[in-house]
Amino acid sequence: MVDNLLGGVDLVKTDKVPKLELGAIETNGQLVTTGLGESMGILQLRREAWERYKASSIPSMMDEAWRFTPGELFLSDAMRNKLHTIYDANESVLIPSILTSSIPVISDLMCSCKEDHSVANMPKGIDLRLICDAISTEDAFAESIFSDPRPKDKFDHLINSLFTDGVVFKASKNIKVSSPVGIHSPIPAGQVKVGRSFLQLEEGSESDCIFWIDGGSDDAYYFGWVTVDVLPNAHMKLTVFQMADETSSILWRLRGRVYQDASLIINVINFGGRVVRNELNAEVLGKGATAQLFGLTLGSGNQHFAIHTLQKHASARATTRLRFKQVFTHQSKGVFDGLIYVPPGAPGTDAYQENHNLILSKDAKVNSIPRLEINTDDVRCTHGATVKYVLPNEVFYLRSRGLRESVAKHLLVSSFLEEMTSKITVESIRDYAERVLEDKVRGGIS
């Protein structure tokens, strides 16, 4: 549908990584470790993670946070079989020209190997490397990532045991980079991608990142975990653009920590995937910290989107904002499950959460669960959720001004979502997002 918009630069070299034939981590971990040039100490940590993965239970529908998207969806036999071949590196992956032509970009595939990766055009003060480079050269960092942040469930353990892809992004102290940097995260066709990435902004720095997920044809899987740390007085803007193939299954979690007087703005745009589970956690850890989460989901066909958000106020006098807009057509399904959590002793908390859903067909389904757990009295917390359809009186009004019905509906839906695409800072990418949006909306209305 939109593939014709994608030109590309082939950055992927073959043969660098052995084709992994893996039955279990005992062998496969070793291969991963060898392939990535990691120390044997890391292999041990991967093995432990694998043991924990095996020992921990699958989150079931009895578990509140998994009620509408059971864990089994991501742990099917098909997925397990695919785990046997982590990468067939012979597949070449394109970085879309829409990225390469607008911003400096790095692809997070482990096989897009070191020396081929030109990071020379990265802005000064930004250190952007593949995770495999980082852990094979920095032992302390490598070890720390297995415990910080602490893995919380079966999928965290799975990711820790098998991750190969990902980047480490660092903005040095007081470095201010206003032009965005791209991280391309492609899902190889028919395979299982496991990724961990770290984005860290040191004190007083500023940057803008675009995290672009695509690929994923032939029933591919993606397990991704991104940690974002925004240290005091730093400011981060992160746009996540997900347009994977509609046969892929994606479990992607972002855990952000925002310190004193720092800010984090996340804008997640979900177009692709068959089953998509996004977990977006933002924890504010210092006075004056601000986290803002925005999101757009456009579901069509048989897509299933589950957005789980957490706004955690671990500090007094911090602010979080959340606003998610979702549209569902055909037989698509959407879950929005958001929680504002204010532990005891966080006075001056200001939190806000909003979720709006538009249903465009009789077979679409929406679940919205905007939750609050408040343990401090001096707070300002509000939330709202709405579900509605394209109202006949609105359509009528537009038609009375001469618009055809489909045009009128199209206009109403696009304007409902436009707020979110308009937040994309890079013009060419914003235009592209709007074109994809138009395309999907048109397909959804007619």
């Binding site: 249903i359 389904k365 939750r371 709202g384 509605k388 359809y389």
Partner: protein, 470 residues
Amino acid sequence: MENVNVNELAKAKAEYRYGFFDEVEYEFKPKKGLDSEVVNMISDIKGEPDWMRKFRLKALEVFWKKPLPTWGADLSALNFDEIYYYLKPKAERSRSWDDVPEKIRNTFEKLGIPEAERKFLAGVEAQYDSEVVYSSIKTDLERQGVIFMTTDEALKHHPDIFKEYFGTVIPIEDNKFAALNSAVWSGGSFIYVPPGVHVEIPLQAYFRINSKHAGQFERTLIIADEGSFVQYVEGCTAPIYTTDALHSAVVEIIVKKNARVRYTTIQNWSTDVYNLVTKRAIAHEDAVMEWVDGNLGSKVTMKYPAVYMVGRGARGEVLSIAFAGNGQHQDAGAKIVHAAPDTKGRITSKSISLGSGRATYRGLVKAYPGASSIKCNVECDALLLSPDARTDTYPYIQVEEEYAQIGHEARVSRLNDEQIFYLMSRGLPKEEAIAMIISGFIEPITKELPLEYAVELNRLIQLEMEGSVG
């Protein structure tokens, strides 16, 4: 009606396995814990028809099988083996006034509740002489064909209508506590309002509090036939003192075409009671069902009055207020289910948490496929009065229909210093200023209450807060 009853009675009697028992003379030693023997004994004592015995025994099986809910309040301290599931009426009332804790006696006094009533409320006396008032109303009702009696009586006197509706709104399998109630239920109210009949005065449990069975596992069944109207008020704002640790009632309501039912509850159990109640109404075409639900007492409450709208144009409304004081957890809310087109729902919830109290709103709004052009609005307001207080909001919105409009809004706030200062600058002492702000906060609910309940509710909240707001 009386004549019909006699015939029905005779017919029903023939079906009974054990015939009638004289309750007073029956030798019954209350025992703790629950097994089929206890359930059989309850059925024996009541002289119930066989189908009810089977119903109870089946419910017991379901009760054992069902797990405790994995969500909601903490029920881990609830010990099913330490509970009396049936107490003979006499044994229930053997307490003396001196045994009633001083705090509760003082509350009665402060509320200005008449002496005789106080003793009843404290469980000291079974008889509260409202017989005179009651009988005149009763005559009125009977003339209109309204049946209003205890559920036990209704099973005896109106077995057909009873069997037709009993357990149809809340099946045994619904949840563990509905199963428990189905196994050991006793007492509660049965109301049948014939087509077109409007019962002008609110029927109150109050009028028949001399009924011996008011208690732990009451079962209420209300049928409002086509075009009828009835309002029912249960409970009392004065604390009900009981030594029973568990209260688990079931209320089933059927609102037929064009009928309207309003059910008002003010719950103020003493603070060691687990109050786990299942309340549900089915609203048919153009019917209106309104729940007004106030939760003040108990240690733990889990209660979500529900309206299932199954007929086109039905309306359902839940007004809920929860007050969670020190050590209390009020897990309350509402369920609005749209299963027919053009149905409208509304939920208004207000909660106040004080001390270490925790108030949780838990609600569901669901639109099934085909329930087109439905609308539902949910509004939740929580007020936190102390740094240790907690409030949660868990609203579930499930929509499987295109033409649905659903809105949910919630706010959490604490007392506004500016408001307090303003009222104080007009001469109100701080506590009175706070009480005034709070009464304003819950006003959307209290204005729907019968006046005497509204006044008492405000006074009670004022009492609860005395000295606890700095």
